[in-house]
Structure formats: C-alpha cells, structure tokens
C-alpha cells in the first residue's frame, strides 16, 4: 500500500492507481458499468425513501426479496432470470399486502410491513434449509459485483432506465406527498398510484442492487448517498444529482480500494458510502460544523 501511495504523487503513479486497473481487467470495467447504472437509479430512489421517512422500509424490503431470490435459485440454479423474477414477485407481494393492510385496517404501515417481511423471510429460510445446498446460496446473498456478466449488466441498465422513467412520471405526486401526504390524498386519486408505483420501483431497484452487491449491501447504495446529500442541500433536484454523484464516487473509490488493498468489494463500497455520509454529516452545509459557521450569517441577514 505505501509503495502505491508514494507512486501516487507522480502522474504515472496516478495513472497506475486510478486508471490502469480498469484498462487491464474487463471485470473491473464491468463492475464500474454496473455501479454507474445502479448509482443513476438507486440513489434517487433513496432520496425519495428518505423524504418519505421510509429508509427503514427499504431495509425491510431488501429482506423480503431475499427468499424470493432464494426460491428462484433453488428451482433454476444461479439463473439471472429466475432470481430476478423470484425477488420481484416476493418484494411486490410484501409491498402490496402490507400497503393494503396499512390502508384498510388499524395497523400502521411500519408494523404491517415488518409482519409481512418477517413471514417472507421465514418462508425463504425454511425452503432453503429443507432443500439444502446453502453454501452456494451464501455466495448468492453476498456481493457479486466482480462477476457481472453481459445479461446482468443489461438488466441493471434496463432497470436504471425504467426507474428514471418511472420517477419522471411520478415526480409531481411523489414530491407533493413528501411535503404533505394528507393534502395529496385529499385532492388527488394519484396517492395510491404514486405509493404503489414507488414501491414497485423500490423492489426492482433492490433486485438490481442484489445482483451487484448482494441483498445485505444493496440498501446501502440507496440510503447512504441520499442521507449524505441531504446535508448539503434542501432542494430536491440538486439532492437527486448529488446522491447519484456520491454513489458513483463511492463505487469507483470502493472498487479501487478493493483492488489495491485486497479487501472484499461490496462491504468496501458501502464503507466508502458511509464515510461520505459521515463527512457530509460533519462538514456539509447543514451538517454539524456547517451549522456553526452558518448561523452568524443568518443573524446578519
């Protein structure tokens, strides 16, 4: 490492440090392309999750997807299609069922979602345990960003495109609901459409993240960049852009750190995201230190 650092002072060293890994190895380029697609879609999803106070919902949904993907794996092996469909079906079932219960009964959204995702998780573990072969499954549940093949990359790109399209369509009701859900519910029939549409987008993004980073880490690419971006701006547009930028930066840095320091890739990416978040928390314009130097300006104005 230290030799690498010293080399980094020269231009050639910088080249070797930052560019050469991607030139030499196809799997590094593929990983970067997959991260780019994920950053464009998952990070904006995270912003809306955060503004709707649903960040923990993202985590619950990630667990809800896991058994679906596991069932798909048991029936078709490491098939991209089967695991994608299984994950999406399981995620959608949990989302719709918990939404229906929350809107039709006394139970609130958080409790009903927790109930359904736990049922889904238990079902998945049950099926996996009785069918055996859970060694391979562990590799499925952890990250595989280093082994993205062409179909997986196209899937990530397709999901990213679809997500951007969906967010563009749902943008106005989503923003309105973030600010004042009661108002939207009173003036528009769009409220359930935007709610379920958003949950559907969440599910496909979690499935995409699962293919790249594994179920355990995929939520990180949503929640952490959004939370970090929130410390820099209040406007939604810049926040979406900044969150995507954070995600892409963290993926690139994480890949390079994993390459140079010989650390496992997906936890490193999420740790870099975490550092960006902590940094933003400290020095962001609305962060802890930011507030200290900003408050006198406010007094003057």
């Amino acid at each position: 490492m230290s030799a690498d650092m010293l080399d980094g002072l020269s231009l050639a060293g910088l080249w070797a440090l930052l560019i050469e890994p991607f030139l030499e190895f196809g799997f590094m380029r593929r990983a970067l392309a997959g991260c780019l697609a994920l950053s464009v879609s998952a990070a904006p999803m995270g912003v809306f999750l955060m503004l709707r106070r649903m960040s923990m919902t993202g985590d619950a949904m990630a667990h809800a997807i896991l058994p679906g993907a596991a069932i798909g794996y048991l029936f078709a092996g490491l098939s991209l299609g089967a695991m994608t469909i299984g994950g999406i079906v399981a995620g959608l079932v949990v989302a719709v069922a918990s939404g229906l219960v929350a809107r039709g009964t006394v139970l609130r959204e958080d409790a009903s979602m927790a109930a359904f995702y736990l049922i889904s998780l238990a079902l998945g573990v049950l099926i996996v345990s009785t069918r055996g072969n859970n060694v391979d499954l562990l590799h499925v549940l952890f990250g595989t960003v280093l082994s993205l093949d062409d179909p997986a990359l196209w899937l990530l790109v397709g999901i990213a495109g679809f997500t951007l399209l969906g967010l563009a369509v749902l943008y106005r009701p989503l923003v309105l609901e973030c600010l004042d859900p009661a108002f939207l519910r009173s003036v528009s029939r769009w409220s359930p459409v935007s709610h379920y549409g958003f949950l559907a987008l969440l599910v496909i993004n979690l499935v995409a993240g699962f293919h790249a980073l594994g179920t355990l880490m995929s939520v990180g690419l949503m929640v952490l960049p959004a939370a970090g971006a929130r410390f820099w701006t209040r406007a939604i547009g810049p926040m979406l852009a900044l969150a995507s930028g954070f995600a892409l930066l963290a993926c690139t840095v994480g890949l390079l750190v994993s390459y140079h320091a010989d650390w496992p890739t997906s936890p490193v990416i999420v740790m870099v995201l975490g550092l960006l978040y902590l940094g933003s928390l400290l020095v962001g314009r609305q962060g802890l230190l930011g507030r200290l130097w900003r408050s006198p300006v406010h007094l003057k104005a």
Partner: protein, 308 residues
C-alpha cells in the same frame, strides 16, 4: 454398495465387542487385525493382506487426515489391533500419541520408511523457510508406492508368519498392477506437450505427481480463502493465468460459479468442475480405490488441459 456393507460390518463388529464377546463377526475368521491411519493406506494394506487381514481405517474416505482427532471407539480398535500402519513424514503425526493412549502392544509400521522425501510445497512460495518439511503425499507417485507395498508386506509377515507366502504373492501381483498404472499415466501424459502441462490448483498435495509425471502445479494467487472475493484477488488470479499461460484451473476455493465464468471470460480458461483427490479416497465410485483414484485424477487433469 461396498462402503455400505463395510460400515454395516464395522457397526456389527463394534456392537459385538461392546457386548464383551471376543470373536469378530463374519464368516472367515481373519488371522490379523490391522488398523491403517487413512483411506489410501487402508486400501494398500487390504490389497496386500487379502482375506487373512481385517483392516480398519481411522480417517475414512472424504475426511481430512491433517485435522483428525480420534474417537474413543477408534482408540479401542487400535488397542485391540495386532498391527498398525501409518504414513509417516508428519502426515499422521497424531498416531504416536494415539498408540500410547490406546495402550497399543503390537507392531507399528511406517509405510513410507526408506523413501527419500521431496521437500514440502512451502518453499515454492518463496517464504524463505530454511528447512521445508518433507512432503508426505508420497502416494501421488505410483512408482514410489512400490516401496509402501514392500513395507506393508514385511510388516504383515513379521506379525503373521503363517500368511507370509500369501502376502508376498499379493504384494507381487499388486506391484505389477502398480507398474502397469505407472506406465498408463506416463503414456497418457506423453500426448500432452510439456509446456502445456501447467495446472493451477488449490491443492498442495501434488508435489510427487508433479515430479514423477512432469506436470507443474501452481497454487492459485488471490483467492485462497472462501470469504468474499476482493478485486485484487480476482485480478491476481487473472494475471497469473495470463502470465503463466496455465492450461487448467482447479480452484475449489471459488464456490461462486459466476466468478468462475467471469475469470473464464477474462482469460479463456474455465475452472474444472471436477475435483482432484489428493489425500483421501472417494466414498464410492471409481476413486474409491488407490488405483482408481490415480486413474481418475490423471483423466480429469488431462481432460481439463485438452478442453482448452
């Protein structure tokens, strides 16, 4: 079927002995009760001993002799045996302690006695160990197993003089089979050009095979553990395959088939899905005997190289 039968018989024997009866179950009463430390040695002793000898194996097929710890029932078997075979060269170093604690009174034969050992794999990685330990996996060279067979026959003769003629003729017959196998393996490899005989394998047990049959084995770099892969680990393996122009890849430490596909895309070299048997026989099938195991390994290695 045979392993099932064997374990049934073993269960029967231990039941009978537990009941305090001394006569072993089974129709023909064996003249010698023998314990061998691991499955490959057990097969060799059976071949030489024939029907006169009842062989029990401590580390069964598919188990790892390096991390073996004896069970109480096995200590009892050892205590009642007249003859114990171990491999030696540190492979089954737990044997000496087991013999002492089991109160073993019989004869202990080290099957690899008199064989000039190769150095262990440790010094190939350039760690600079001054004294690399002897590589104990001698049986990977079929020609050297002739010495095993001689040692086994001598040991059996010393313990059971009445059966000595039968042991000698068994050993001679088996020795001819070993010769034939040795020739067969050499013939199989002669079809492969020397520069193509480069295999990357996570086993470190093929030193004797390598020196006997002119095959180079390299340890895979980067992906030694089964934890989540790092980008550097994958990069090092890819670079190693490219630079060394390896012809076959056996990496059981990579369990994720998608990662194997990715490496294959990058290098044009796909990891073999069949494993190699290094220091234990298979519970059943072709590799359940020593001769079969060597045949199987050779075929899998050559098939992986020719698949390129």
């Amino acid at each position: 079927m045979q392993p099932v039968f064997k374990s049934l018989r073993l269960a029967a024997v231990s039941l009978v002995t537990a009941a305090g009866l001394c006569a072993p179950a089974g129709a023909a009463e064996p003249a010698l009760r023998v314990v061998a430390s691991f499955s490959i040695l057990g097969d060799l002793v059976r071949q030489v001993g024939g029907e006169r000898v009842a062989v029990e194996v401590l580390v069964g097929p598919g188990s790892d002799a390096h991390v073996y710890s004896p069970k109480p029932a096995q200590a009892k078997q050892v205590g009642q045996a007249q003859l114990v075979f171990s491999n030696g060269m540190g492979f089954d170093g737990w044997m000496a302690r087991l013999l002492k604690s089991a109160g073993f009174k019989g004869r202990h034969v080290v099957a690899s006695a008199g064989i000039q050992p190769l150095k262990g794999a440790a010094d190939e990685h350039g760690h600079g160990h001054a004294h690399a330990a002897a590589d104990p996996h001698v049986w990977q060279d079929v020609a050297r197993v002739q010495a095993y067979v001689k040692n086994i026959a001598q040991g059996l003769c010393a313990a059971d003089a009445a059966g000595c003629d039968s042991y000698r003729s068994n050993a001679a017959a088996y020795g001819q089979q070993l010769d034939a196998l040795d020739q067969e393996i050499r013939r199989a490899w002669s079809a492969i050009p020397a520069q193509q005989r480069l295999v990357i394998s996570s086993h470190d047990a093929f030193g004797y095979y390598a020196s006997a049959y002119g095959v180079r084995f390299l340890a895979p770099q980067g992906v030694s553990t089964d934890s989540e892969a790092s980008a550097q680990g994958v990069a090092r393996l890819v670079r190693q395959i490219r630079q060394e122009k390896a012809s076959a890849l056996f990496v059981e430490s990579i369990a994720d088939p998608r990662l194997i596909e990715q490496i294959a895309r990058e290098t044009g070299l796909k990891a073999s899905s069949e494993g190699l048997y290094s220091d234990s026989l298979a519970p059943q099938g072709e590799a359940a005997s020593y001769l079969g195991m060597m045949r199987y390994n050779t075929r899998v290695l050559i098939a992986a190289i020719q698949r390129r």
